[in-house]
Structures are given as C-alpha cells and as structure tokens.
Subunit: 136 residues, 4 copies
C-alpha cells in the first residue's frame, strides 16, 4: 500500500452561501493529495507530462459525511491500496481533526496526446510495483 | 420521471493545462442542471433556503468518457428517475453534439440549520410525487 | 467602438459564505464577455491559439459597487473603446437589472509560445481597425 | 507597516489551457495572503463575521509580469502600508523564486448585514493603529 497525507487550509473562495465548502472543491483537494503522493514516491506528475503522458480522471466519487468550513485545517489521506494495471485506483479519506469529512476515490488511466489509453510508463509501473511486490 | 436540459458554453477558466475541462467543473455544471430542473418544475432552490432548508450533496459520482474543450456547447441532461423519499437521487448525462462527455449522479437530503437531515418540505414532496403518481 | 452584451446566470458555486458572489468570479465573467465579443466580430479566440498566439491578461481591475447573488441574471457589457496598438484594452460594465454590479477593465498583449509580446496578427488588427477607421 | 508572507503550491486545477495559472486565481491567493496576515496580527477574519461584520473587496487590481505554472511554489507578500480609515488598502507582491509574478492591491470596507459600509470595529482599528502610531 502507498499512503500520503496532505494538509489543506480552507480558503474563503472555497465556501458557498450555505457557509460550508462547496462540494466540488473536495475533488480539487484530492487532486492536491495525489499530486503530493506521487511526488513523495519519486513520480512527480510534471515528468509524465514532459514525456507526453497525461493521467486524466476517468471516474470520481465522494461520499460526504461532515462539512468543512472556512479556515479549517483539512488532512487529505491518499492511498493506492491495489496494485494498478491499466487502471489506477486512488482512494481518499479527508479529516478535520477527528471528524471524517468525506471519503472518495478517483480512477485514472495514462493517455498519450491522441487521448487514447496506453500502458503506464515503465518507470511508473516499476516504482508502484515496488510497494506491492515485497510479499509475493 | 422528471427531465431537464441545460446548455453550458465552456469557459476558458474551466480548462486546465491538458487542454480539456478540469474534471471537477463537471460537478458545477451538474449543479447548474439540477438548479434549472427544480426551477422548471416550480421548485426554485432559492425558496428552500428562504424557508431555512438546505439541500447539500451527500454523494457525487462521475464516469468520464470524452473530454470537453474550451468554447464547446455542452448539454446537461438532468433526471429524477426514482421517486425520492428522504434521499433524492439525481442523474446526469452530458453531451457535446452526439458525443457523451460523462454520466453521473448526485444524491441529496434536505437539512435544516443544525445540519441534521429532515424530511423534504411538503410542497417539494407533493410536487415531485405528481410526476410519479400518475400510474400507480 | 466595439460593444457586446453577454448574459450570465449566477451559479451556486460562485457564491461564498457572505451570501454573495465571490469577488474573483467577476473576472471569469468578464472573460466570458470578451470571448463572446471577439467571436461576434469574427475573431474567435480559438483561432488565435490554433495559430500559435495567446492573448493573456496583463492587467485586471474591478471596482465593486453592488453584490450579485445566486441565480441572478447578470449582463456583462464588454467594450473596446480605444483603437488597440500593441496593448488591447477591454472595459466592462456588469449589471443585474438596473443595478450596476461593478465596472472594470483588462488589458492584453498577444504573445507567442516563448511568452514574449508580439504584434497582433494582421487579421486581428485589420478587423479591429475597421471599427475605428470610419471617421479618420 | 504590516507585512506577511504566505506560501502557495500551485494546483493543477488552477492552470488553464495556456499551460499557466488562470489569471483570476491570483486574486484567490491574495485573499489567502490577507487572511493569514490578519490572523498573524491577532485579527482572525472569522471573528469579524461572528460579530456580524463582513469585509468585502471593493476594488481589486493586478499587474501581471510573469506566469506561474503547475506545482510552482509561490510566495504571496501582503502589506498594509497606509493607516486605514474607512477604507483599508492591502497591497501584494507575488514571487516564484526571484521572479515577480505580479503585484496588486485590494481595498476593503467593513459592512454590516445591510451591506452598508460602517466604521471598522474598535479592536480592529486599535490593533492596526498600533503598527502605525509608533512614530507620530
């Protein structure tokens, strides 16, 4: 399993007139979380794009449990729990203190400029597999 | 079934450096779609908030199929296909021309200021049920 | 003078916890306004990018007068009042009904991929000048 | 003079199809900067709203000099350089490394729920003045 924790301070711009964070902003925070997770394991996202790869979201899901408010400190826990093949599944749990705000997932495939899915680049597969292949 | 179609013109601000619409913006468009759908059936969202109700998203999901681009005209098809009880399920299909961009759903509950779920207001239930009770 | 009017319906996502539209969103609406204005005069923005030009904002300003609210219908009046040379100045007045919400401006220069300012493409200059050269 | 420096990591969502940060997002970062500045001098923004005050933007301006890119680390320098009366002027300089990205300002007035300008709350004035009254 791969895990990373990212700290987010809630911005005023992210609230709506309910007085809570607007629901689509959690997807942005999950993106910030996975960007940091990939960087922490030596796979900075910028390098993929520099080599002509993109890693778009092909599915996104959130179950909302408790709302975040302006100026809250939110922790985004990001996980890769299953060894990816073509499809890469990342899961998330977001907390404010002890309170779980929401949990969700995104799934991704690598694409090249023609927007067709391709196999992940080799150094991605090797790096990710190194977290899963210890106990074969 | 209740159905509504909303037209969206893609804004430059909604693109990202992949050259496509950033994935969380589709959730904003779905929100625009359900706002219009509720207004069309005589249940403008503003009136709920004026009466102390809020209708937050408790789950959100999208399957992405084809990317939208700057200046595209996107049609958001919004549906209420099942008669809501406490939980209101809205589904969406987004198109650019003949191409389906994505499909998704959001589910909602009414809450009052204490952020606790409550039964929908009576005029909501009566109005919505009028679309489903024709053929009992 | 060149003028265009664009209609915007305020989205829930654009509000903040004050209950009004968050101030940076007016810049997005001004962008929607100038995109439509350029398209109306036969200079669709997409064509510039297709030819390797970009038209970034180099200054942006807004004076806020009255706040917009969720579901308001906002009219963005966009103007090119002075014949552009290297620098293109676009001004805006935003209204909700009779009420002026804000007025502002953006200025722009054409750049090529190296992010260096360049002269506007010839067909831009010719088209724009045709609105100003009637009374020399 | 009051000064504060806030660190921002550029999010993918903040880019647009030019490959740079979309111009309105710098206003959001300036907001993050002034929120932190007020908190650092013992005037957390939340407390104003808890007491029925709001501090909307009444003018906003940016001069763009160099674009920020995805994953850049941006430093927002926020300043109150002149002793505020009714109107509070905050200025900003944003940097990525040694490169100035942009400079700008926002001006603000306190309002109460009727959206009419009011004098700043006393503890605001006293606290801010303490930074300016040393050398009368």
């Amino acid at each position: 399993m791969i895990k990373s924790v990212t700290k987010i301070k809630v911005r005023y711009a992210e609230t709506d007139q309910m007085g809570f964070v607007y629901h689509s902003n959690y997807f942005v925070w999950m993106d910030v979380g996975r960007t940091q997770m990939l960087e922490e394991i030596g796979l900075p996202y910028n390098e993929f794009e520099a080599k002509g790869y993109m890693l778009p979201v092909i599915e996104a899901n959130i179950l909302y449990k408790s709302p975040a408010r302006f100026n809250d400190t939110v922790l985004v826990h990001s996980f890769i729990k299953t060894q990816p093949k073509l499809r890469i599944l990342i899961t998330y749990e977001l907390f404010c203190g002890e309170t779980m705000l929401c949990q969700g997932y995104t799934s991704h495939v690598f694409v090249k400029e023609n927007v067709k899915p391709v196999r992940p680049p080799l150094h991605f597969t090797e790096k990710i597999n190194s977290y899963f292949d210890h106990n074969p």
